[in-house]
């Protein structure tokens, strides 16, 4: 099980973003480097890529607030 964590330097300012979209559904098989989610932070969109190969599980829902360093899901 690998956690999917938002990088501590994913955006500059110390503000929250929100999960814009899960590009792949819960339970989808993804490969390392696939863009699996998008986060929106004010005018920015931040891509979240899969840290490895595996089956995706969502820990949060679209529209939920997220912070740098926070966990949004996991790969099994």
């Amino acid at each position: 099980m690998t956690d999917i964590i938002i990088a501590a330097d994913a955006w500059d300012e110390d503000i929250e973003g929100s999960l814009l979209t899960w590009i792949y559904p819960d339970g989808a098989e993804v490969k390392a480097g696939d863009v699996i989610a998008e986060i929106t932070v004010e005018k920015l969109q931040v891509d979240i890529t899969a840290p490895g190969d595996g089956v995706l599980s969502h820990a949060i829902n679209e529209g939920d607030l997220v912070s740098k360093g926070g966990k949004i899901g996991a790969l099994a």
Binding site: L20, I23, Y24, T40, V41, K43, Q45
Partner: protein, 348 residues
């Protein structure tokens, strides 16, 4: 260049993407596959575009093909016309459709009319992209849709996709068209939090080439009691109202015009022939608008078959207010459409 529509890969899981990603992937494909294609616009190069449609292109394709322009819409729109006459395929982003006033002469008098001026001997393959729509307190100069302005004068095709899937497919169709296409991106649909995001606009889109035809309307929901016609984000408003009506015991059909020019009158007429009731929701100004054109087109063909007067739900004929309550008062929304639909359904 021979193009075939790739079948979406069946082994990969379906991706759900927001509209601006689908547009970015379509533009990426065009730049990668046709050396005649180049992009130009304000903040489109190093910044990647205010809508995030060209993120990373400046580094990937270089400053000759992804060009930052000065704030000089008349200059770069006219340059696009000249480039197209010289064999290029320019894609020009006019950041907000509201800025069309400063470059209307190159758009209307050169780009739109060139094929006729040359007796059909020269193409004018220009794609003009622009953001449209309001609802987020950006006032009179950054909130308009202006569908009717561009529908009225002949020569341009005009498309306003509703979903990420249609955004990708219509962009490729527009690039295969030998004539100029105005490609309108509703800010509420792009997936940018700043402008509000309608979740319905995200859809499954494979990262492969495919086309969605221009000039074709789509039935988004089938129904038998009333036809609701929408365009861009107002299509999603119509779908939400159709769900509410279902709870009231009414079956509403929802049609997404998708293209303003050519206008697919047949799909609307076929629907109203069945439902015999029609309400059109249009974010553009009410008078002389697309909603009135759709209603006139239906009434000309099957007016005597209607069992209730058709209704328009459109923006009030006023410059778009800045204040949130005033903008909400003037702008079409679910409440206004629901009221018009109920009035139509209860007409004796």
């Amino acid at each position: 260049m021979t193009l075939t529509a790739d079948q979406p890969a069946t082994t990969a899981p379906a991706r759900k993407v927001v509209m601006n990603r689908a547009i970015r992937e379509a533009l990426d494909w065009e730049l990668a596959n046709d050396p005649a294609v180049f992009l130009m616009g304000e903040d489109l190069g190093k910044f990647g575009g205010v809508y995030g449609t060209a993120t990373g292109f400046f580094d990937k394709y270089g400053e000759d093909r992804v060009r930052d322009t000065p704030i000089s819409e008349a200059g770069f729109m006219a340059a696009a016309a000249g480039a197209a006459m010289s064999g290029m395929k320019p894609i020009v982003e006019l950041m907000f459709i509201d800025f069309m006033g400063v470059c209307l002469d190159p758009i209307y008098n050169f780009i739109a009319k060139h094929a006729v001026h040359t007796g059909g001997k020269q193409d004018m393959p220009v794609l003009i992209m622009a953001g449209i729509g309001g609802g987020y307190c950006d006032a009179s100069q950054h909130s308009q849709t202006l569908f009717a302005t561009f529908a009225h004068l002949p020569g341009l095709k005009v498309v306003a996709p509703t979903t990420a899937y249609d955004a990708r497919g219509t962009l490729h169709a527009a690039m295969r068209d030998p004539g100029p296409v105005l490609y309108l991106m509703h800010k509420e649909l792009l997936g940018l939090g700043l402008w509000g995001t309608m979740p319905e606009a995200s859809s499954n889109v494979s990262d492969a080439y495919f086309e969605v035809p221009l000039g074709k309307a789509f039935v988004r929901r089938e129904g038998t009691d009333i036809t609701l016609v929408g365009l861009a984000s107002m299509t999603h408003v119509a779908s939400r109202v159709a769900k509410t009506l279902e709870g009231e015991g009414y079956s509403a059909e929802v049609i997404d015009l998708c293209s303003v020019v050519p206008l697919d009158r047949k799909t609307v007429i076929d629907s109203v022939r069945k439902t015999k009731r029609l309400v059109v929701i249009d974010e553009d100004y009410r008078t002389c608008g697309v909603a009135g054109e759709v209603i006139a087109s239906v009434v000309e063909e099957i007016g005597t078959e209607l069992i209730a007067p058709p209704q328009r739900v459109a923006f009030l004929d006023t410059p778009i207010p800045f204040a949130r309550p005033l903008e909400k008062f003037a702008r079409p929304d679910e409440d206004k459409l629901l009221k018009a639909a109920m009035r139509t359904l209860k007409h004796a």
